[in-house]
């Protein structure tokens, strides 16, 4: 798993937010478009792409996209 690729998959779940906004340091909970449905989409994307099951509490614990990347990595 590679960080930039993870950020790209993360960004793909959004409709309105410009792709350039997404970096490893992005504090994703603060994005206007972030919602409960997007959280579910990101959990499902991680399951599809990385075969890792993360929980709602993991989404909550992660501040930046890189934090989430590290959580996923620790479960691989």
């Amino acid at each position: 798993m590679e960080l930039n690729e993870f950020v790209a998959h993360f960004a793909e779940q959004f409709e309105e937010t410009d792709a350039s906004v997404f970096t490893p340091e992005t504090v994703f909970h603060e994005l206007d478009e972030y919602s409960s449905l997007l959280a579910l989409s990101i959990i499902a994307m991680i399951d599809d792409e990385y075969d890792v099951a993360i929980k709602g509490n993991d989404m909550r614990a992660a501040v930046t996209i890189e934090d989430l990347y590290n959580i996923v990595k620790s479960k691989m």
């Binding site: 409960s36 579910l40 989409s41 994307m45 399951d47 929980k55 709602g56 509490n57």
Partner: protein, 248 residues
């Protein structure tokens, strides 16, 4: 005083998915009201935990995977005559529509829809349910109210609600009543499979007019009403037990 129109004294009741949650609570409550219960589940250890909490005697436990045709036939073959059937076993699933896979649909419909349909068919075909008997399906408020990420679960539960109504019509000739119960969020292990964070669940609870999720016993008591002779003129209904969530 022994007056109790809700008694289950003398009735034998089969409960699927009895190894946890609503199924476990229903089995225990039924035994407390005098029923002989037959409990089934996939997990031997957890099924035994339920069995150990049953009151009275004459109970049975059968380990079965209802999505497996052979296991299903075996269960039906082992069944005594029954007065009540609670089709309760089910699994959860929370994914947005854009992530649905064929294999997820197959697994969800197999467990939540096909298994209870086929169990009901086999038991009635083999005339294992006595005249005056009652069948209850554990559907969900999800069959009536949509939620983000819940499309597949909702479909399986709406299908079983519809099947319950068909059963009510066809089995009226056999003197068997059929109803479904529709719980809102109940504090069981099945809750969203962890996809929703605890924080979000706390917030979600506040959306319920009664400001909390349900307890498994609160669903059990509604099921017990539908099993008892107190509901002898009730068939083809949908009982909503959701702390008022459907009002929102």
């Amino acid at each position: 005083m022994s007056y109790n129109p809700f008694t289950l004294e003398g009735k034998t009741i089969l409960i699927t998915g009895a190894s946890s949650g609503i199924g476990r609570a229903t089995a225990i409550e039924c035994s407390k009201l005098g029923a002989h219960v037959v409990i089934t589940g996939r997990n031997a250890e957890r099924l035994q935990e339920t069995y150990d909490q049953l009151e009275g005697d004459g109970h049975m436990q059968v380990i079965a995977d209802l999505t497996d045709a052979e296991s299903l036939e075996q269960l039906v073959a082992e069944m005594p005559q029954i007065d009540g059937l609670i089709n309760n076993a089910g699994i959860g699933y929370t994914k947005p529509i854009t992530f649905i896979k064929q294999s997820d649909l197959d697994a969800m419909f197999a467990a939540n829809t096909y298994a209870p349909v086929l169990l009901t068919k086999l038991l009635t075909k083999k005339k294992k349910i006595n005249k005056g008997g009652s069948i209850v399906f554990t559907s969900s408020i999800a069959a009536l109210v949509e939620n983000m990420g819940n499309s597949v679960y909702s479909m399986t539960k709406a299908a079983i609600m519809s099947f319950a109504k068909s059963c009510a019509l066809e089995f009226s000739e056999k003197g068997i009543r059929v109803n479904s119960v529709h719980p809102g969020m109940v504090e069981t292990k099945l809750i969203h499979d962890g996809a929703i964070s605890e924080d979000d669940m706390q917030k979600d609870m506040l959306n319920y007019p009664l400001k909390r999720y349900g307890k498994p016993e609160e669903i059990a008591w509604s099921i017990i009403y539908l099993l008892s002779d107190a509901s002898a003129w009730v068939t083809g209904t949908q009982s909503v037990i959701d702390g008022g969530m459907h009002l929102k």
